[in-house]
């Protein structure tokens, strides 16, 4: 993860089961699974295995050790599944998420809607650093951004990708880079690989 002086940028921590929790839900974005990561997670979550459900988004099922296992296609499916579980979770339950930043915040926002408080949720950033960028001017989202400056998918303006981050939108702020001097666009660098 990149370091930044902008304090809205979340700091992510490794996932550790909170033993005080009732039921535990682990949600993993499949593409962020490095070799051996599932086995590692199974080890870490062994103390709560009996009360663990794991949702794997877009990955093949492993051998076991991750409680009751469900397979889902994508972040959108996870969000839908959470919305349907609206009354299913209690104040004592815990949610753990591993994924890219857009994935983490899609899930965290959906969990907040069904009542999960901040202290019930742990987020671990893995995989690509690519960003979801929110255009300050047309309010459109551009997904999968890996460069310091990106053409907005909505209005086409060249946006400077700032470190200022909104959890509600799960996105970084993009601001027109040549608004003061139209056409003066600095060199574009690959920075969020």
């Amino acid at each position: 993860m990149m370091h930044s002086d902008i304090k809205s940028r979340p700091v992510y921590q490794p996932l550790v089961p909170d033993l005080a929790g009732g039921r535990h839900l682990l949600v993993v974005e499949g593409e962020t699974l490095a070799a051996g990561r599932l086995e590692e997670l199974a080890g870490v979550f062994a103390p709560v295995q009996a009360r663990l459900h794991t949702w794997l988004a877009g990955a093949a099922a492993p051998l076991g050790g991750l409680g009751k296992l469900w397979q889902l296609e994508s972040a959108a499916d996870v969000v839908d599944a959470l919305a349907c579980a609206s009354r299913g979770y209690g104040v004592g339950d815990r949610l753990y998420v591993q994924g890219t930043e857009p994935f983490l915040w899609s899930v965290a926002t959906a969990a907040a809607v069904i009542g999960f408080g901040e202290k019930q949720v742990q987020l671990y950033h893995a995989g690509s650093l690519r960003r979801r960028v929110w255009c300050t001017h047309c309010h459109g989202m551009t997904e999968g951004v890996t460069t310091s400056i990106v053409a907005c998918g909505g209005c086409g303006r060249h946006l400077l990708v700032r470190d200022h981050f909104s959890r509600r939108l799960g996105a970084f702020m993009g601001v027109m880079v040549d608004a003061e001097a139209p056409g003066e666009i600095p060199a574009i660098e690959e920075v969020f690989a």
């Binding site: 902008i6 304090k7 809205s8 300050t136 200022h164 909104s166 959890r167 702020m173 027109m176």
Partner: protein
């Protein structure tokens, strides 16, 4: 007290906004010393201080009608400038009550509030003479107003407003009416916590300014509002310097020369007050914006010279954050002619009662 409103002046297009001499003299000049750095510059919001704008909790001046009109234009183009999260309804009524009570008590010739009772469910009648509005409604029933209560009343007030919900020992920006901001986006920030929305501010986090300010605000008491001044600079007397419309006003920054800086470059001072709200326990944060051109300010000799010194010694991080980089040299060159280098008394008072002719 009579205020000579200037209903026709504009804050966009032909920019006909001008300050009268009286408005220049009451300008809340923010620099007591020759250097500026962020600090927890919070003090009780009492009816006294070096500028006349502190004499009433909510200041109304000659630009009132024109500013309300500019706000309506901005909202028409972008209704998202007013956002209220669903749990903020009580805070909306708190804000309406505070503004209506204060304005009608301090400006009885302009505003009046007639109440049949104080509780929710009572009929209230609000009259706003400068804007020619009269509205009878049931306090506590949003359906009896043309729009939600926060939007209704803040459309009739100068400046921006944010409401912060207090929970988990933190403040969350859960409502706002933001049409004259210094380059920050409500749409992006709504729902953020105190440290998150202040994320982009340089240097102040490291020196503990925000940590101390937050602890102080969490203890803010009902009936004891506080205030602080914040400032930046704007090219042309433009209220809507939103990041949303940066493509519209960004090029203005490149238009400043040492010859036109006096008219083009404006000091933009925000009188920010903080109010504990009674029913919701939220904090209301009105941001009242005052604009004066360098020409205006230099008519007060102390202010012209002091601004020159503050801007010449401003830390590089602040210059960049406030977006001054491109035109600061031109502004400094213009201001230099008003600074003879003589020592200036500490304090923000103008030190004069009349202005040199224009």
């Amino acid at each position: 007290m009579t205020i000579a409103f200037k209903p026709e002046e504009t804050f966009r297009g032909d920019y006909t906004y001008r300050n009268s001499d009286a408005a220049v003299l009451r300008f809340p000049f923010p620099f007591p010393e020759d250097r500026y750095m962020y600090s927890v510059n919070i003090e009780p919001h009492v009816r006294s201080g070096p500028s006349d704008v502190f004499m009433r909790p909510f200041d109304v001046d000659e630009h009132y009608i024109a500013e309300c009109r500019d706000k309506a234009i901005t909202l028409e183009r972008d209704p998202g400038r007013c956002q209220v999260l669903p749990h903020m309804m009580l805070a909306q009524w708190d804000t309406l009550e505070l503004l209506m009570e204060s304005l009608s008590a301090d400006y009885p010739a302009l505003f009046s509030l007639v109440k049949e009772g104080d509780d929710f469910g009572s009929r209230w009648t609000w009259t706003n003479r400068p804007l020619g509005l009269e509205q009878s409604f049931i306090f506590g029933d949003p359906a009896t107003l043309p729009c939600e209560p926060f939007e209704y009343i803040t459309r009739q007030a100068q400046g921006d407003f944010a409401i912060c919900d207090q929970r988990d020992n933190n403040l969350y920006m859960d409502a706002g009416m933001v049409t004259s901001q210094a380059d920050w986006s409500l749409e992006f920030d709504v729902g953020m916590s105190f440290m998150e929305w202040h994320g982009p501010v340089p240097l102040a986090h490291q020196t503990g300014v925000f940590e101390r300010a937050l602890k102080y605000l969490l203890m803010l008491r009902l009936g004891q509002p506080v205030r602080r001044l914040n400032w930046t600079m704007t090219i042309n007397p433009r209220l809507d310097t939103s990041p949303e419309n940066f493509p519209e006003w960004g090029t203005d920054r490149a238009s400043v020369t040492p010859d036109n800086a006096g008219q083009k470059v404006h000091l933009r001072v925000e009188l920010q007050t903080l109010w504990r709200l009674p029913r919701s326990n939220a904090i209301l944060f009105p941001i009242r914006c005052y604009l004066a051109s360098l020409d205006d300010l230099a008519r007060v000799p102390k202010w012209g010279a002091r601004l020159h010194r503050v801007l010449s010694s401003l830390p590089r991080e602040l210059v960049e954050y406030k977006g001054l980089t491109r035109y600061l040299p031109a502004a400094l060159e213009w201001l230099a002619q008003h600074d003879d280098g003589a020592e200036l008394p500490v304090g923000t008072e103008s030190g004069v009662t009349t202005l040199a002719p224009r």
